[in-house]
Symmetry: C2
Subunit: 170 residues, 2 copies
Amino acid sequence: MQLIDAKKQFVQAWGALGSQWGINKTMAQIHALMMLSNEPLSTEDIMEQLSISRGNANMNIRELTDWGLVSKVFKAGERRDYFVGEKDVWKIAKQVAKIRKTRELDPILNLLNSIKNLDDSSKSEEVKHFQKMVDDVHKLATNVDRLIEGIFKAEQNWFWDKVLKLFAKH
Amino acid sequence: MQLIDAKKQFVQAWGALGSQWGINKTMAQIHALMMLSNEPLSTEDIMEQLSISRGNANMNIRELTDWGLVSKVFKAGERRDYFVGEKDVWKIAKQVAKIRKTRELDPILNLLNSIKNLDDSSKSEEVKHFQKMVDDVHKLATNVDRLIEGIFKAEQNWFWDKVLKLFAKH
DNA sequence: TTAAAGTTTCAATTAATTATGAAAATTATC
DNA sequence: GATAATTTTCATAATTAATTGAAACTTTAA
């Protein structure tokens, strides 16, 4: 396989993966391009390589910048903006986890807290079951929350070494 | 708060969470209803509680059944189908992980394998960088794969006990 | 200061996804 | 085996999400 084809396949697959996880396809594809490129890319480069409009490119580059996965760089003697993507996949994963935790997990934890105390003190089976389910979900969500917090602090090698060892015996 | 409002909020939040992770909102809401209900629910019940059409209800119940999160039950003397949802949140999480691993992670791993060997033996910086990135992503994906495999085998308490202990010192 | 280059915005359009509902198919009951 | 109840299918409609492209805005440098 040629480099150019391999790149295309990677970009395409990254876009598809993003879509399946609620991330705009174009955003994921731009991210893929940025990961694969040694050199900073301009908006023009991205428009060309993905055959997309200027507005689309601009908006998704901004979104990636907001996520902290891409940053602007200045090229000497060049007027236009160039961008580079974070290349460390562990950092990328952590960053995505951090953002999604804040946006999605934290609100769910708040909601679960607020609904677990009902006025209804009837202790009916229905109420008891509801409270048990909410509590179970809350416990799992809290554990996931702590796991993510742990990941933020951990080093990649340390983390995988420890985690994978856990399962080695089984 | 009253039970009925708390349920509504939970169902609504579960739907929103699903949407953000590439799962049809209605499918997630039906799943929420099923989790919260002690009793089996019929298609009619679901149509009524979520104000959705029969076709929509039917399709999403089937999808949940395919995911192994809901099963059909027979009610004595009743002609229509009733459904119950899995109530064990750990099992639910494992099942979702299993399905998404198969559908999404495994294909990505295959792709990464197939693109890492290029005809281009030029050892240009460009080729080297590409191969390094693909390799890094592949390593991370493989570790995630193993983590999920481990989760399948582990018991909930054992798993969280071990994992959370890992981070206790830090 | 101005005009050319580059960037951003956003209303309008297009594309993709979901939902509807009625007809067809299936299943149970008499 | 006719019919009534229920489920499934799927073409079409509705909704939601993504994209375009041109105008407005900003920056640079002559």
